[in-house]
Symmetry: C2
Subunit: 116 residues, 2 copies
């Protein structure tokens, strides 16, 4: 039980679309992740998806709209909603999802989630 | 479904220890709150308590330790653990708790949680 410095955790890896778990909140994993380029469109059948931009800017594409999300802004994608995060330049994000939820919504294509 | 700018939400109220709901994540409320001074020691029997310092610095007092928590740092208090946040100067925090959870752990002393 101690403070978790998000910038220090983000400095521990360089990979993109590769969430790293930094803490647990109830049955959720709290992760940091770096975005650059485009992620595939996907959805999570059973959970909302929590994004907080810590540094940089991302775009959240939905099926019928796109939203720029800047540092200090939160974007929550409701469960069942198809979405695609993308970022022109590297963007650092705090991500919250239930434990075991695949980041693509599909275990076959998901990244493992190392704990740092 | 749109970005939530946390600084804009925080600019909408001045009160301390008065969490305002800005979004929902599954069965949780995502809130912004301003701390100044000392909150009472309390605990949440059934939930972890999620704090992310957005601006300023707080101290999280536990029964046997105190932790300074600075901007960009996360502190998660596990359920059942007695704690007291305090801040010498105003500190802005992102708080996540399950819907309906009283901020003091006790409905009799809890602040209502307006939605902004």
């Amino acid at each position: 039980m101690k403070p978790v410095n998000l910038a220090e955790k983000l400095a521990m890896f360089d990979s993109h679309w590769d969430p790293h778990v930094v803490a647990d909140y109830n049955d959720n994993e709290v992760m940091v992740v770096k975005f650059a380029g485009e992620f595939p469109f996907h959805l999570h059948e059973e959970t909302d998806d929590f994004f907080l931009v810590l540094e940089g800017e991302m775009v959240m594409d939905l099926e019928d709209a796109s939203h720029a999300v800047k540092a200090g802004e939160l974007f929550i994608v409701p469960k069942g909603v198809t979405h695609r995060p993308r970022a022109k330049a590297e963007c650092k994000v705090l991500l919250i999802e239930p434990k075991g939820e695949p980041n693509t919504g599909d275990p076959a294509t998901a990244a493992p989630k190392p704990r740092i």
